[in-house]
């Protein structure tokens, strides 16, 4: 038995998830086996934009082993049209009408058109090849220019154009004045390229409709079971109580697996039609082509600056490519606008944006969806530094806010309470020794070697400071149920849905500490809508605060309730109760301790305790985030660019980060490194590429969509900045998304620094070797 005198919070406690992960006994959605289960595959559009003029499934239906073939029209009749998962993010935006599978037209390569259900995936794919769909090609709308062209074919006829929304110019502060008194204006057109989540596990679902009970059970890989449940219930026109969503182990998501996807709804409807379970496991081509993509934005930026490097004002125009079916893209500019000042003293800001629709996969959430604000700002700061021949670190130090001094708020409104950006910059400066690096850089250049140093600073709302309207970040307060069992263990029911975040460990650490039992006596239950509290699930870098906080307060509340019950049994006062070594006693009388389990049993026995304490020894807790707070930090990278091949080697990567009090340092550092790895991948390797003429998706296999391997990601040095506690108890902040937000600009800044002798100005985030040689002029830009 573990020694419960030690404190778990703050220690790198070994994960309780690992025994099953390491022995291959976890249960991912592709591992679910139900009697009579059938297998689904989709016929998908080979064309980016076309009208469907005919669908012939006769031959497919005849293939032995095929149980059903459902066309878009047939599924449309079995389901309710709706925005699906995108509905979460689309309040107030124009919403086109579209069916679960394509009926009138296809709007991207990979758009699902027909569902085949067969005895095996092999047979289902055979049958898919027998389906004949007639397409009348339409011009593909692929580039922003094509989408903005009013003469272009509207992808959704009922919207009339491919401009989803144009937001009017928003201004903060005196923008005109700032530009009028500026010593200089630095301008840039910055491009953030499309790339995507790519978890190692693709999407998947097993839908099982029971004809007898009229209940739908869904096994899903999803970040939030309740949101998925609502999606299924809505689009199948079923009462919520008849839908149960379960999730077991999930092989990563990073924002992809939210809500009920169109394919999920199709499988659920088919299961209801057939009365049999249907499994759909997305394959990697489907995942890369059609599941959704992210980060497709371009910016025109002007910075009004003083000769001392102060940023007097910014003008920002943003265009975001939201893809075909509605996703997150339409509302994202709001988040970018709000965050773009970051932890800096920006004097004024004007911001306008346009969201366009194109024949591409939907723009979805990907680990820090608003990250382009940091990309734009941190790139501009380096361009400003270049303009003034100043060190980028110095420009940052001159503009970053200092805690306790004005401004106490971001220009766009949010409080900057507790921000430690300056401290993180100072720490990175101490770790890097910029002057020494500049000497080394100069020596290397003399030998024809190109080293570069880049750094970047960010903050993220994890969950963000308390707002006047209440805390909890954008997804509301967090609930948790905690129950003492008759065997003396504590069961924690959380709406969190971990998919790599290790909540079954971290939340147990906190609950164990606050309740007073060993870590292995706490069991965290996730992923069952019948049992876990309502809530968003996991995402948005909020769980450390929200779930950590409700775990802390809930465990205390459970302890108090246990003491109340025990007090009755001891005929003493709750204040006199003590808990040690798994038993409760009157303080000072340890010999007459009662094991925890017996206390729980007593509460079940009629008459032993007052009515209001009878029953399960359980509390339901809710937490609104308390004072909340920011996470953030500064990253730095030292790179070497091989100017003969364009390859980039990262010599050193450093992180100085503040994510509040660490629940489990190893887990925190794992999140940071994983995020940074994705950021490195974005710059050097990953691009969701479309042919601009045909709209064909070019990155549809792992030979073309490249994610980094162990040879591309360096050791990452991590220093934790001492956090500013804002709350009496809960100062854990989220850390899931930060690495991915800040790594791309860090690396781009380093690459530009390495190539500055060639006068390279980096305005795009994707810098594969070919592009680097084009930028330095070593090769021509081919047409």
């Amino acid at each position: 038995m573990q020694n419960i005198a030690e404190r778990y919070t703050g220690a790198s406690v070994k994960r309780s998830e690992d025994p099953r992960i390491l022995t291959g006994t976890g249960c991912y959605v592709d591992d679910v086996r139900l009697p009579g289960m059938l297998h689904a595959a989709f016929v998908r559009s080979p064309s980016a934009h076309a009208r469907i003029t005919g669908v012939d499934v006769t031959e497919a239906r005849k293939l032995p082993g095929v149980i059903a073939v459902l066309t878009g029209e047939e599924l449309d009749a079995l389901t309710v049209r709706g925005p699906g998962a995108a509905g979460m993010f689309s309040a107030g935006l124009p919403m086109p009408s579209f069916s679960v599978l394509a009926t009138d037209k296809v709007r991207l390569v990979g758009d699902p058109v027909v569902l085949v259900v067969a005895e095996s995936r092999y047979l289902a794919e055979d049958a898919c090849e027998l389906v004949v769909v007639d397409y009348e090609e339409l011009p593909a709308v692929i580039t922003q220019e094509q989408a903005l062209d009013p003469a272009g074919p509207p992808i959704f006829e009922d919207l009339g154009s491919n401009v989803l929304v144009r937001s009017p110019v928003a201004t903060f502060g005196d923008v005109e004045g700032a530009f009028a008194r500026a010593d200089r204006v630095v301008r840039a057109e910055l491009r953030q390229h499309r790339h995507q989540n790519v978890p190692m596990e693709c999407r998947g679902v097993v839908c099982s409709f029971d004809l007898g009970s009229g209940e739908l059970t869904v096994y899903s890989a999803t970040q939030g079971v309740h949101i998925a449940r609502t999606g299924f219930a809505t689009q199948l026109d079923m009462p919520l109580e008849k839908v149960r969503v379960l999730a077991g182990d999930i092989g990563g998501s990073f924002g992809l697996k939210l809500g009920a996807a169109r394919e999920d709804i199709a499988c659920a409807a088919a299961s209801r039609r057939l009365g049999r379970p249907i499994r759909w496991i997305e394959d990697r081509s489907e995942n890369l082509t059609a599941s959704g993509q992210a980060r497709d934005e371009s910016f025109e930026v002007e910075a009004a600056i003083s000769n001392e490097g102060h940023i007097l004002g910014l003008r920002v125009k943003m265009i975001i490519d939201t893809g075909a079916y509605p996703g997150l893209g339409g509302m994202l500019p709001e988040a970018v606008k709000g965050m773009i000042p970051g932890p800096y003293k920006i004097g004024a800001l004007s911001f306008e944006s346009t969201a366009v629709i194109t024949n591409k996969a939907s723009y979805i959430a990907y680990r820090g969806p608003w990250a382009s604000e940091t990309w734009v700002r941190e790139r501009m700061i380096d361009l400003i530094a270049k303009e003034l021949a100043m060190e980028p670190l110095e420009v940052r130090l001159r503009n970053v806010v200092t805690r306790g001094e004005p401004p106490l708020q971001m220009l766009t409104g949010r409080s900057l309470v507790g921000v430690t950006s300056r401290e993180s910059l100072d720490r990175i400066a101490a770790l890097v020794d910029v002057e020494a690096f500049r000497r080394r850089q100069a020596e290397a250049r003399a030998q024809g070697r190109y080293l570069g140093l880049g750094l970047a600073t960010y903050i993220e709302a994890a969950p963000g400071p308390r707002t006047p309207g209440g805390g909890g970040g954008i997804m509301g307060p967090e609930q948790m149920r905690l129950r003492l069992e008759e065997d003396g263990t504590v069961t924690v029911f959380t709406s969190q849905m971990p998919h790599g975040q290790s909540h079954q460990t971290t939340l147990a650490q906190i609950a164990a500490d606050e309740f007073g039992v060993p870590f292995d006596q706490v069991r965290v239950v996730v992923g069952d809508t019948d049992v876990v509290p309502m809530g968003f699930g996991t995402g948005g870098s909020r769980s450390a605060t929200m779930a950590g906080g409700v775990s802390l307060h809930g465990a205390r509340a459970l302890r108090a309730k246990v003491f109340e019950v025990a007090a009755h049994l001891f005929e003493a006062s709750p204040e006199d109760m003590d808990l040690a070594a798994g038993a409760v006693s009157v303080r000072g009388v340890p010999a007459r301790a009662v094991p925890l389990g017996e206390i729980a049993r007593a509460a079940h026995e009629p008459g032993r305790v007052p009515r209001d304490l009878e029953g399960d020894l359980e509390v339901t807790a809710e937490y609104d985030g308390g004072e909340g707070g920011w996470a953030g930090g500064t990253h730095a990278a030292i790179v070497e660019v091989d100017v003969e091949t364009g390859q980039v080697r990262i010599e050193r990567y450093l992180v100085a980060e503040d994510c509040g009090v660490l629940i489990n340092p190893a887990i925190v550092e794992g999140q940071v490194r994983g995020g940074v790895a994705q950021g490195i991948g974005a710059v050097l390797l990953e691009r969701s590429a479309y042919d601009p003429d045909s709209g064909q998706y070019l990155s549809s296999t792992f030979m073309d969509y490249l994610i980094p391997t162990a040879c591309e990601i360096p050791r990452i040095e991590i220093e934790h900045i001492e956090t500013v506690p804002l709350d009496a108890d809960v100062n854990f902040r989220g850390v899931g998304e930060g690495g991915m937000i800040i790594a791309p600009p860090t690396l781009c800044n380093a690459i530009e620094d390495a190539l500055s002798p060639m006068g390279v100005r980096v305005t795009e985030q994707h810098l594969p070797p070919c592009r680097i040689l084009e930028l330095i002029g070593a090769i021509a830009l081919d047409p």
Binding site: Y122, E129, T645, R687, S699, M703, T709, C711, P769, C770
Partner: protein, 291 residues
Amino acid sequence: MKPPPFDYSAPTTLDEALALLLEHGEDARPLAGGQSLVPLLSFRLARPSHLVDLAGISELGSIVVDDGHLVIGAMVRERAAERHDDVRLLAPLLAQALPLIGHPAIRSRGTIGGSLAHADPAAELPAVALLLDAELVAQSRDRGKRTIKAADFFSGFFTTALQPDEILTEVRIRRPALRTGSAIEEVARRHGDFAMVGAAAMVRLEDGKIADARVALTGVSDIPVRATEAEAILEGAEPTDEAFATAAEEAAKSLSPPADLHGSSSYRRHLATVLMRRTFKLAAQRAKEAA
């Protein structure tokens, strides 16, 4: 991503295998290591009606030394060749190339013959075979054995001189002459990926001058190519950096490499220049050390 249906045989002799290929015609294909063929099946880009698995034919699985030639059976796994002493001694360029092929899990199954017969323009082994003037032995039931020079073997994009009823049985590599050094280098997006461009070079020195220089390039065409202009310029020349640079630049002028998501045509031409220069230099250095 599941393969379409096909039939399968697992012969234990070469004669059986050849008879099966003849019997099932053009839609039958030999199955070697499967590291290239199985993904094509999974993508449904290849749709053979019948696979003839060569793994059970023990006579295809050995490495022997025969009269100064290294003879590698077509079904020798790349990993086995990598570990084999005779390969290191008698075909150092091959030994240098093998670890560049994919990853250990690929090489444990992938075969020497399979890679050559698949003829991926980005693959290392076809370029090595071309550079070493390897002899590839093919056999059919009706026409027996024939020896095909590497220069004649690779005819086009994923196309070789093999007839549909032929199986590649072995590759013969002559041991290098004295005072020869070799080098292979490639530029890939990630470690273990197919090269965007690769160069394999050999240099033989005599009296401090280059008696023979050769270089083969991958990724610049639909087949591996010998950069003969470079080879001609270097014959008899001093092994200097300038000579290698000049040779590489001249040879690159005649290249029209393909463009794709990973690199433009200009980029590949540029890489070819860089890699020819680097591999010539390293090969010459090794030739000096071998003396």
